[in-house]
């Protein structure tokens, strides 16, 4: 049941790679001018954050959730409704949404922590569908299928920008937040508890791992971060409806991005977003939505059957090869 590759990239190397990538991402706006690619870049960042949020409960703790769109939707609707109804800026709304989703995630964690494998998956799926049905039918609050349009009022103080690049930096900030929390959890006591639980719950419990508390904290953190992404998404697209926020397909895609990249690792979901989102966009433009999803389906089957560690495992192998090569050169020189 080992999900992690036995030879992870050493922390020092991953810190250097992360810092270098961040610097590169900061300067991307100076290089790329094409609106299509800017839009794509922001979408990739948003999905990378979302998959990272999923990965905290799905990857580290092994609770494969097919209901995460619910938390994304709670975030999107909370910040948007607070703005529309009460004039509260999304900069505050994003935290209200995160707290709400965090509580909801904790609740789901408390009632499902005992369920294993397919039973857990089905419970999260049912939870996601319940939220979706409420979203579609509670028209007094959400306006149902008509959706909510964010009027362009205010500007930066309301997380609404005229310049597309501003969204790039907002999305990048969000990614730094989610990846930072994810990496901190991975290296914390909690992170080791979660992996121990994932690999063998009974053994972990007998060694004193606090099962319920660890799982609930992971579920709540994951849900709260997914909600933050939802709020940013709503400000970026400026229109939300049940189909684009709480639908089952969205939950599947969140999990798909993390799995393709490599679940249970910090960088896997980022790699997944960088692969899946441009691929999906290009296929959709060339062949249409149906054909793009045909490829998603095949990709998902091939990855989980032949490389359940995801694309990150390939990258790790490459890093190890390079290091071995450098080491052998050094020895040859000496």
């Amino acid at each position: 049941m080992r999900i992690n590759d036995p030879t992870p990239i050493p922390p020092a190397a991953s810190r250097i790679i992360g810092a270098a990538a961040l610097v590169l991402l900061l300067f991307v706006p100076l290089v790329i001018r094409d609106i299509y690619w800017i839009d794509m870049g922001i979408t990739i960042l948003i999905w990378a954050s979302l998959a990272t949020a999923w990965n905290i409960s799905g990857g580290f703790a092994g609770g494969l959730s097919l209901g995460h769109a619910a938390f994304f939707g709670v975030g999107a609707y909370t910040s948007t409704l607070l703005f529309l109804r009460l004039g509260i800026t999304p900069w505050i709304g994003i935290f209200v949404g995160a707290v709400l989703a965090g509580l909801l995630g904790a609740l789901l964690g408390v009632i499902t922590f005992r369920l294993k494998g397919p039973f857990f998956v089905l419970a999260t799926l049912a939870f996601g569908i319940v939220i979706h049905i409420i979203n579609v039918n509670w028209r007094g609050l959400t306006r149902g299928a008509a959706g909510l349009l964010l009027p362009f009022r205010g500007g930066p103080q309301n997380m609404l920008f005229l310049n597309l690049w501003a969204y790039w930096y907002v999305a990048l900030g969000l990614l730094v937040l989610t990846v930072g929390i994810s990496a901190a959890i991975e290296r914390s006591r909690l992170g080791y508890f979660l992996v121990a639980l994932r690999e063998d719950e009974d053994a972990a419990r007998s060694l004193g791992v606090r099962v319920v508390r660890s799982k609930v904290v992971a579920a709540a953190t994951s849900a709260a971060l997914a909600a933050c992404v939802g709020s940013v998404y709503a400000a970026f697209i400026q229109y939300i409806d049940p189909d684009s926020t709480t639908q089952f397909e969205l939950s599947v895609q969140i999990a798909l991005v993390a799995i393709v990249g490599g679940m249970g690792t910090t960088f896997g979901p980022l790699l997944g977003a960088a692969i899946v989102i441009p691929l999906g966009e290009i296929l959709r433009a060339r062949l249409g939505g149906g054909a793009a999803l045909v490829v998603y389906g095949i990709l998902l089957m091939v990855i989980v059957l032949t490389a359940p560690n995801g694309a990150i495992a390939g990258v790790r192998m490459l890093v190890r090869r390079v290091r071995l090569f450098i080491d052998s050169r050094r020895k040859a020189d000496a």
């Binding site: 039973f119 049912a126 989980v304």
Partner: protein, 293 residues
Amino acid sequence: MQLVLQIVANGLLIGGLYALLAVGLTLIFGVLRVVNFAHAEFMMLGMYGAYWLWSIYGLDPYISVFLVTPVIFLLGVAVDRLIIQRSIGKPDVTVVFATLGLSIFLQNAVLTLWTADIRSVSTFATGSVFVVGGVRLSVAMTISFAAAMLFALGLWFFLTKTMYGKGIQAVAQNRRAAALMGIDVKRAYLITYSVAVAAAGAMGVLVAPIFTIFPRVGQTQIVTIFVIVVLGGLGSVPGAVIAALLVGIIRSGAGFMFGTAWGELAYFAVFLLVLIVRPQGLFGRRGAEVYGG
């Protein structure tokens, strides 16, 4: 009273159709320990099979069911060989997402090939009703119900009276002990999966004259089937049949009282509650949920 009888009768008819789908899904879980997310897509393929044979050759679904079902069976054999056998014994993520990927693939392959247009099949029975004791029953629905029950009966006969079926039951109880008794476990998996999806395909053909046909029709049904199967106890065949009839009645009753949408919400809430309070379902073996995956 008349109204109650009518609601119960409608519920039973629709529940009987769901039973054919639910029995296959629960059988696959009981024997292979795989939750077949793609199950309802085989129903969708069966519906399209019925549609094309009807619109091109004018074949009635009640005849074409004998042509489509074997084709879906063969498709099941291929899927088992290519995907299911490779995912057994792997981590949960493989077991869950391989069939989910298959479901996405099948849905959208059909969407790409045959567009999202809504299609329907009409037969001699379409639109006609008959009255029994003041209760109006759709002729098409009743024929499909009877055929579905015959299929289910055949499945039961196969499982309990034939050597293959007994082997499958043995594997469901304990795959290691079954292997030690000389049962070919892989073949039991193959037969179970193919027979179960063929039943889903047959159900698809039988409901083609009743439901509208479109690529995502499976997706609208699969969650209901999950509700039924979990309620009956994942892996329990009689549980699935009883739960299917029960859900059929609840659905038509709740739909009548609260409207379709909120009625749906009610039974998802029940589903969550069953999962949390009694994950083995109403009729499942205790401890079945522990093995999950």
